[in-house]
Symmetry: C2
Subunit: 309 residues, 2 copies
Amino acid sequence: MNYADRLTEAVTRRGNPVLVGLDPRLDSLPASLIASTGSDTPAQKAAAYETFCRGVIDVVAPLVPAVKPQAAFFEQLGPDGMAALGKLIRYASDKGLLVILDGKRNDIGSTAVAYAEGILGRGDLSPWGADALTVSPYLGDDSLRPFVDVAVRREAGIYVLVKTSNPGGAMLQDLTADGKYLYEHVGGFVNQLAQESLGQCGYGAVGAVVGATWPEQLAQLRAAMPQTWFLVPGFGSQGGTAADVAGAFDDRGLGAIVNNSRGILFAYRREPYATQFGEARWQEAVEAATRDMIERLAADTPAGRLGKS
Amino acid sequence: MNYADRLTEAVTRRGNPVLVGLDPRLDSLPASLIASTGSDTPAQKAAAYETFCRGVIDVVAPLVPAVKPQAAFFEQLGPDGMAALGKLIRYASDKGLLVILDGKRNDIGSTAVAYAEGILGRGDLSPWGADALTVSPYLGDDSLRPFVDVAVRREAGIYVLVKTSNPGGAMLQDLTADGKYLYEHVGGFVNQLAQESLGQCGYGAVGAVVGATWPEQLAQLRAAMPQTWFLVPGFGSQGGTAADVAGAFDDRGLGAIVNNSRGILFAYRREPYATQFGEARWQEAVEAATRDMIERLAADTPAGRLGKS
């Protein structure tokens, strides 16, 4: 089944568009967990990340459609970290979650094919087993097409960076060329790729990353890119609210998945969850923060219509 | 010592600017080598890549200043491939080569720091142990600065994609905004970062990737970015000649390193090396192709002046 249809099915089945970002950071992990794995060697740190992320996956798998491991935090630990990442992708996949690897990879020609064939394709379809990958567009159209080809063949997807959540993203993305912002140039091409990889749901296997920190542009891009699923980062710790992301959805409540990493993973460190659960019950804090985010999106965005028709 | 000075020293000591790209591809490896490692499982493929690349490193270490492993081909094999990559970076480093990891990584804020801290810094300074990393600029200034900060602290470097060698690179890079090409906007910012990380040699720790396939722009950018080392891909199999890259150098023969991957690695498959050495003597073909490239650059570019003053 086309990746866009698989995503539509997963979002509809769970009734929410929450994407839990797996961004382990050593200094934010529960002390008791670190104590059990150790944290001196890269192998011990990788074990801590794996234990922590398995704990998160166990809690969120029945609640949300997908998780997004951030490759950087695993790569930071060297090869041990990458081995842990590989195991976690499969663990999440086995628990029924879609797995979007946030790697922001890209290269040209046969090198792009190498990334795509290595990462894209669940289960035994690829060595990493991810359902989708984030991809950077600076290298242009002939660097994106190899990813699209492999993705379509393997029922996987990609999300191309279009308008990112960080303030500095404006440096290039907001330059104006031929009367359009650069991100609109990229967005137009991405929507063309989405049209070429269309599923039954009306969306394509090629999506776009558009930050929650730009609510106006989010709504404009939703209108301009009607066949493109949005992956929306920047909710929560980067300041984006449910109202800010409302424009990312279509009338059915489809078309966007909204990421939250730190706000869910490390909920036990902030109120009200810190008082309610404390460090020892960090998994309950993950669950409560996930449920709260689901509720907020249901209340303030078209995602409230999911699973109700 | 500042990375730019380390690179200057290495290029001057070897008397040439050749960068050997480590891009192993299973279907191009010598059959006898594959027979010895097997190639059925990812672990066997990773062993083949490691054996092959060690063989290349052994040959080129006395000849050239640096090697550039391409992360994609190792990532293609899953975690086993990444483990092989980690070992190869250290092996090349131990042999006295500078190691530039071609990962085209990037992300924002603390996630960019995670990539930078994981990859940059030779020996025990980082888990991967690379001297430098290629970085993609689409996410803007606040995504590049974390890499610069870590690089400067660890005597490492980065190379930011500016004008890439592929035809499709023009899609975004050649858009005109505020009277300048997008790649000139990026180039201007990169040169500013180079000025802020300046070594004794007059160049900074922040370099630029500029393709050999654009000789005119290469010379223009050399003039516009006087503090920036160039990493020049596209020589050989992508069509770039020694004359094409001549404009990338300064009058001393410094300022550019020129990459060749397939043309050196798989020299045994093409003439005149195929007839002269054949598959069994593939390492001698690597050596001959490397020496030929050194000679061509010395004859047709300012690199001929290296080590002669």
